[in-house]
């Protein structure tokens, strides 16, 4: 009953805001673009490159508005929401260009507003306001929690933790769990320990060697100012089948805190940010999963499917955008395509497409457009062919970050190296065949010397400056992404 009331109230708030924004949009056309992705996938770099492309221009033949010269200028403007940090575009760009290092990853939501002046096809001068919202993909994985309760979540999380390769990582937490009786009276200290161990397990799963993606609740990894609060101090329990939680027991306490997490963390995020997006980019780092192994790939697939399931997809209609705005275009950007020779880009796209296939069908059925593009927002490599003993390898040339290793070699972060990371499989379906044994060996099963794929961390390229000092970032297919995301609004 109270649940129904909350939902109705929530929906009423959403509708009221949608109505206000619709009226605003009539005078001042606005596009809200959401950028998300797991941490380390390259959200910040993508966004920096996107803003730089719009403000500084460059070589973007496929992005029609820019290539045909209709886009007069784009400038940064004060953002509409005063309670959200600004996306620090200038600082990230400086890190890329001056210090030649990748910008620090964002740990929370941030926002940036761009005002684009352009000339429409029929030569009228127009303005489009682009609000870009950047938020961690981990928060998205919280959204499915809204429709589950503590008992179900607890069982699912525990089952997941027992699977290979998570079992090894989760052993300390599960050992502690065995000492806890859900029916016993609540003991704050034991609960805190359990939550800490659980968080440590989630954090360890994110390590390069495992590269797991399905790690809700997301705020455990990025607590922000909620760290240590009761809403973040809970963990799954080994629950008995059936039965009720006795008053004052650990079980009842965990249950209450789980609900608190939903109402303090998840629901406000959904209302304030997520439900208002028009377009969405999901930045996916499939190559990290290839480094780690087939389990990581499957985990990524599960995470992407549940992300897509949260989007309110559908075609944009006048009535719809008044009362119930939907996400009309979703782009899955398989980033770091510059770590592959271009002959493998299609395979990368096919693999990511395969991961989102089922969910994408649902979105397309509802009338949204879904696209998958293998891209590199900032291209750190060149391509080269290596001929060795009559064999020729399609390689990429870049500067590996200091400390990266491949085979017996350790790189110093200065030398240029031609890398052959391994051939991506031609048949994407074979990777996801559950019955088959491991399709390939990754870091989660074997050593770095034996792994089938090695995608090293590379340093950003040497950046050129234009005549007037503006920065030109090399890229791969960023123009196609821009055209897909906003080409139709710049007609």
């Amino acid at each position: 009953m109270s649940n129904l009331l909350t939902d109705t109230l929530e929906q009423a708030r959403l509708t009221a805001r949608a109505l206000v924004e619709f009226g605003d949009g009539l005078i001042n056309p606005t596009l809200r673009l959401g950028v998300t992705g797991m941490s380390g996938a390259g959200k910040t770099v993508f966004l920096t490159a996107l803003v730089n492309a719009l403000t500084a221009g460059g070589r973007f033949p496929v992005f029609e508005a820019l290539a045909s010269g209709r886009l007069a200028r784009a400038r940064l403007a004060p953002q509409p929401d005063d309670d959200i940090p600004r996306f620090e575009y200038e600082r990230h760009l400086r890190a890329l260009t001056d210090e030649r290092r990748w910008p620090e990853s964002t740990r929370q939501i941030s926002e940036l507003r761009l005002v684009i002046d352009y000339q429409s096809r029929n030569r009228a001068l127009r303005t489009l306001t682009l609000d870009i919202v950047d938020y961690p993909g981990e928060w998205l994985l919280d959204l499915p929690l809204l429709t589950t309760d503590y008992d179900d979540w607890s069982r699912e999380t525990l089952a997941l933790a027992q699977r290979h390769p998570r079992a090894a990582v989760s052993a300390p937490w599960r050992a502690h769990l065995a000492t806890m009786d859900p029916l016993a009276p609540a003991d704050e200290l034991a609960v805190v320990t359990s939550a800490e161990l659980f968080t440590a397990y989630l954090r360890a799963c994110r390590d390069e060697r495992y590269a797991m993606s399905m790690l809700p609740p997301g705020r455990f990894l990025m607590p922000g100012d909620l760290a240590g609060s009761p809403a973040l101090t809970f963990a799954p329990l080994a629950l008995p089948d059936g039965g009720e939680a006795p008053k004052g027991s650990v079980w009842a306490m965990m249950r209450r805190r789980f609900e608190a997490y939903k109402s303090v963390v998840v629901r406000p995020f959904f209302r304030e940010h997520f439900a208002r997006l028009d377009r969405q980019i999901v930045v996916v780092d499939a190559l990290a999963a290839f480094n780690a192994g087939p389990e990581a790939l499957r985990d990524l697939e599960g995470a992407l499917a549940s992300i897509l399931a949260c989007f309110r997809v559908g075609r944009r209609t006048i009535l719809g955008s008044m009362f119930n705005p939907k996400i009309e275009k979703i782009l899955f950007a398989a980033t770091k395509a510059d770590h592959l020779h271009h002959i493998n880009h299609d395979r990368l796209e096919a693999i990511v497409r395969r991961m989102v296939m089922r969910a994408a069908e649902r979105a397309e059925f509802a009338g949204s457009e879904v696209d998958v593009i293998a891209l590199a927002a900032v291209r750190a490599t060149r391509e080269a062919t290596v001929r060795r003993d009559g064999e020729s390898l399609a390689t990429i040339v870049g500067v590996p970050a200091a400390g990266q290793t491949l085979g017996t070699e350790t790189f110093d972060g200065e030398a240029e190296v031609a890398l052959f990371p391994g051939d991506l499989p031609a048949d994407a379906a074979a990777l996801f065949d559950q019955a088959g044994k491991s399709a390939f060996q990754g870091l989660s099963d074997t050593t770095a010397q034996e792994a089938d794929y090695r995608f090293l961390k590379l340093r950003p390229p040497k950046i050129q400056r234009d005549g007037d000092g503006s920065v030109i970032l090399p890229h791969i297919r960023l123009d196609r992404a821009l055209q897909f995301l906003m080409g139709d609004r710049l007609q």
Binding site: G58, R59, P61, V62, A67, S68, G69, R70, Q119, R123, D346, R347, A350, D371, R382, E383, A384, T385, V386, R387, R388, D389, G390, L393, T395, V397, P400, L406, G407, E409, A415, E416, V417, A418, L419, F420, P421, G422, D423, P425, A426, D427, A430, G436, K437, S438, A439, F440, A451, D452, Y453, R454, Q464, D466, I472, L473, P474, H475, R480, Q483
Partner: protein
Amino acid sequence: MTTGPSPRRPAAFRLDDPDVTVSAEDQATGRNRSGTTILLAPEPEPSLPVATAFLPPPRRFRWGRMFWIALGGLVSLAIGLGVAQLIESLFARSASLGWLGAGLAALTALALVVVIGREVRSLMKLAAVESLRERAAAVIASDDRDAGRAVLRDLLKLFHNAPAMARSRTNLEAHLDEIIDGADLIRLAERELMSPLDREARRLVSAAAKRVSVVTAVSPRAAVDMLFVLISAAQMIRRLAQLYGARPGTLGLIRLIRLVISHLAVTGSMAVGDSLLQQVVGQGLAARLSARLGEGVLNGLLTARLGLAAIDMTRPMPFVALPRPALSDLAGDLLRRSEDPAATGKPARPDEDTDRPPA
């Protein structure tokens, strides 16, 4: 589980390694088979802005067009009034005459509607072919897979009832779902669909050119061959359009001829490939031949050139994978054809035996 041959292991090659030779791909020189060579692919200059296309000037309201439309309306009103009055007076004379008149008027109207309908359809088809060509060119530039697929589907629709192309159609349909980048898809379609059509188009143009050259050479009056050239050029353009999937009616043909002529003007009429013509004229061949025969060859060449422009404008795809037919392909035929008059006693072969003075 292994897929295909044993997977190649990841590897790294330092560029500053003394055992490694590094060179740019386009100047790969000596091949030392023993050592390792790294060929760097050429990079596009990232800061180079793409040439910006300028928008056409804003379209102003066209009063001239308005004038013709209004005038046309008035004239048709006058005709309608005249017909109505005619039928009225026919009825005044006798009822049966009146009915006959009314029936004829109705038939006229019906035929007019059908004719207009056909013209409109043919114009639409022509526009469709044009937009298909533009889209194909855009896909070549953007390499967008979905757009490429859409173009391919429309192409298949355009040729869905050409029986001779059943095989290429099925081939292409099989490729629709494979992972091929957009530009490659267009190239594939061009190779599959266009090569038989191109052959036929070449034949059509060269036949028309031959006809024109022969008729000009033998016709008694300049007026006659002018008329002939006009008619056969129009016929050639219509046939080419039919071949490439558009069925132009009268209005369509007029529009097409306008397009072809403006294309001819844009591409620079005499600049390219007319070394052949220069050769013919410059070496004084025409002077050596009778004046009429020279004129015939010239007219034939011009027709061939018109045919090439017409191919450009009627073909639903740009020339990307296949070579654009050159004037020499067609004119070669034409000059060989000049043997026919040669058989009547005039040395018309521009071949080596007449062309080159004996050493």
